[in-house]
Amino acid sequence: MSKYAVEVENVKIRFNLASEKVDNLKEYAIKLMKRELMFQEFIALQDISLKIKKGESWGLVGANGSGKSTLLKTISGILQPYEGIVKVNGRIAPLIELGAGIDPDLTARENIFLNGMVLGHSREFMEKHFDEIVEFSNLEKFLDSPVKNFSSGMKARLGFAVATVVNPDILVVDEVLEVGDMRFRRRCNERMQQMLSGGTTLLYVSHNIESVRNLCQYAVWLDEGKMRMVGPASEVCDAYAEEQETQLRKRQAEKRELLRREGKKYDYLIVGAGLYGAVFARELTRRGKRCLVIDKRSHIGGNIYTEDVDGIQVHKYGAHIFHTSDKKIWKYVNRYADFNNYINSPVAVYKDELYNLPFNMNTFSRLWGLKKPQEVQAKIAEQIADLHITEPKNLEEQALSLVGRDVYEKLIKGYTEKQWGRDCRELPAFIIQRLPLRFTYNNNYFNDFYQGIPRGGYTKMMEKLLVNIDVMLETDFFEYRKEHPDMFKKVVYTGMIDEYFDYCYGHLEYRSVRFETERVEEANYQGNAVVNYTDREVPYTRIIEHKHFEPEEEQENPKDYSIISKEYSMEWKPGIDPYYPVNDEKNNALYEKYRALAEQEKKVIFGGRLGSYRYYDMDKVIGAAIADSAKELNIWIQ
């Protein structure tokens, strides 16, 4: 016997179709009399040659109408080739949903028999394997109810169970497994793997490239009836996905060009391609609004922008770790990125000592050599009591009254002074409200349920958020508004609120940071993503080693160099990138005045960290953007 399960040689499928669909005698007769009956040759497949060995798994990919199903039908014997030869060695079992072709009024039991016999099994055979089928489909309870009452998932389950009772020589699956719940799909996959290792040949058609990649060893890419590529599934899928993407982009560009030529206006001009702007634009676009996003920087992403430097994602504007306890937000971001399981556990270096952060039992036992939480609590209480501070007058006294002398001197004092550029005794007490102390050995910096870094960097996530949305970079809002005042109906502004009003009440103040990023020829520079330097003598506040944010990438592609950024705190002056708002009384009052002005601007929505002058974590920014956009569109969200 031949070692091939399927041999296809130079197959051509030609249809002779009436150019207009004529499916009744009356029209046929009329057209015949008027001599209007035109037939058109339609070549569905051409030059198809394939040799599929026994036990191999093959996927067919291609656009709608590219001939995937036609090829499958030809191999199954449903269609006859016009030219060429199709040889099949073995029994073909196509996977069919029950209820599609067989009477939906019949019960599941009856359908199992019918379906089995349609596949060419004898009654005796079906009786022997009946229990097996029922068990796999997990539908014992519904055996005697009509299939028409079944969900599509249940039908698929039944169909799959019947098709795979015995290992067929060749299993043909055409887009059926997309229904059903996760568990069933997993079981199907397991069963298919099992059959594959048992020598079954698989022919698989799916729109879902991922499933082809997972299930198949080889793939054929069909394009307008011809074979465009044959080879290992991953290569073919990659090429196909890439082509799809470029096609998509081309179509979008054409559409945009068309709209532009027609002089169509945008519904919204979104100022700032940061997280707030991108989420806002996504939400509006999703609901059919046309948005233009502009940013004065040369990249998207705002402050969460990551840049690929020699294969390492560098957090250009400071370390960003996504963390949230809001399940909805977590789900939302996971639609746009794959998050890894990074957990932030920074360490602090003080002179030649090293401590874990946040302040927890690891820190304390390093400080005092104590092991038991009670001892540590007593130690801190004692240190606080010794100081006799009742009303803290400045930051130093505030901190001391919260954590005692040792923690303050080694881990807070120098760091805070570098951050603010001032002595702790000159800083107001309100900056530090709480200093959480943990009496467990837990180095996880955040208390949130969910935490991680998008694999491949934040910029990739931002690109996904901005898919299909027009973006113009290096475009300043104030200039754009002057040149194209009527290209948009409304504005979403995520820049500095005081700048929008031309600083009419004066400048809001910020703190800023700057980074010195360098490449070091060491595979592992400091062993951790974030190391804080808490003594005053070291000029920088911390060093970030970017590769440690994506340990999985490093594992896959180890590099013998690394990228590090030293972070320096600095005074902010107008013109410098603003980082942290200074939310003291004076600035908050000033912001309130700007906010009152903002309320008068009916056609402008202010948002984001700069537009609302506050420190926002990323999850909060996303939440705010979703809520604000819903309000704008008058949609209720829970």
Binding site: K26, A100, G101, D105, M117, V118
Partner: protein, 263 residues
């Protein structure tokens, strides 16, 4: 010759499927209506009662033991009508399945005609009841009935194949055929007797060109009159049946590979 052997082999392979399809049809038919099997006996009985009243009382025609006369023709005609009607839709109706799986398509047509035949045999009980009630005489010739049914079964298969393939290409055949069926019924001596009151040309037309005449005349002979059917209608019946079968199979064969494009 090889081809023929191959055909019989596939037919054998799918025999269980045919049986299953037939039993499905019957099951569903009897399951769907409240009275089930009783209904398939009651239905011919009731129509018979109505027609008997109309025909003998209102029109005053005199045909001896009209109920048996009527039923012995009508049951065959109904079988022909139902089976060809169903057969016509058999390919199109299983389109979803045929698009996915290779099954010889004639299986569905064959199964439909067969299930109608079984249904008819089962409802022969109605005829039996009527014969008992009207005290009709049982002639030994009635034992020839299976031969007549077989002829008609072959005829219906042929016609069914022909209609099934035509229906794939022209969906309005269904309407045209149902009009034809009505005309056909009146052109067949089922409720009336083909006697001298009808003009000569009608006699010639019916006896020469109406296949159903051959089967109904045979069945009348053996059930109602107790005669052995004459050679003309007996051999004519077989001949017509096989000619129809050849036409049906040939037309079906010729176009079956194109079905997939139209269903």
């Amino acid at each position: 010759m090889d081809l023929l052997k191959y055909r019989f082999k596939t037919l054998f392979k799918y025999k269980d499927l045919i049986r299953e399809l037939v039993s499905r049809d019957l099951k569903l038919k009897y399951r769907r209506s409240f009275l089930g099997y009783v209904w398939s006996i009651l239905d011919p009985l009731l129509t018979m009662v109505v027609l008997t009243i109309v025909f003998t009382r209102l029109l005053g025609r005199k045909i001896e033991n009209y109920p048996v006369y009527l039923l012995s023709g009508r049951m065959l005609y109904d079988f022909m009508k139902d089976s060809t009607n169903n057969a016509m839709k058999s390919v199109v109706g299983n389109a979803a399945l045929l698009r996915k799986v290779y099954v010889p398509k004639y299986i569905f047509t064959l199964a439909k005609v067969t299930s109608c035949m079984v249904d008819m045999v089962l409802s022969l009980a109605a005829l039996l009841i009527v014969m008992l009630v009207t005290r009709a005489q049982f002639h030994p010739t009635i034992l020839l009935l299976p031969l007549v049914i077989l002829q008609l079964y072959i005829f219906c298969c042929g016609l069914g194949f022909f209609l099934a393939q035509l229906n794939v290409f022209f969906r309005d055949i269904q309407y045209i055929y149902s009009v034809m069926l009505t005309a056909w019924m009146y052109a067949t001596p089922i409720i009336y007797q083909l006697d001298e009151r009808f003009p000569r040309w009608f006699h010639i037309a019916v006896k020469g060109f109406n296949p159903m005449y051959y089967y109904i005349a045979q069945s009348r002979d053996i059930i109602y009159y107790g005669n052995i059917p004459g050679p003309r209608i007996f051999w004519g019946g077989w001949l017509i049946a096989f000619v129809m079968l050849v036409i049906g199979v040939w037309s079906f064969q010729r176009s079956k590979d194109k079905f997939i494009l139209y269903i």
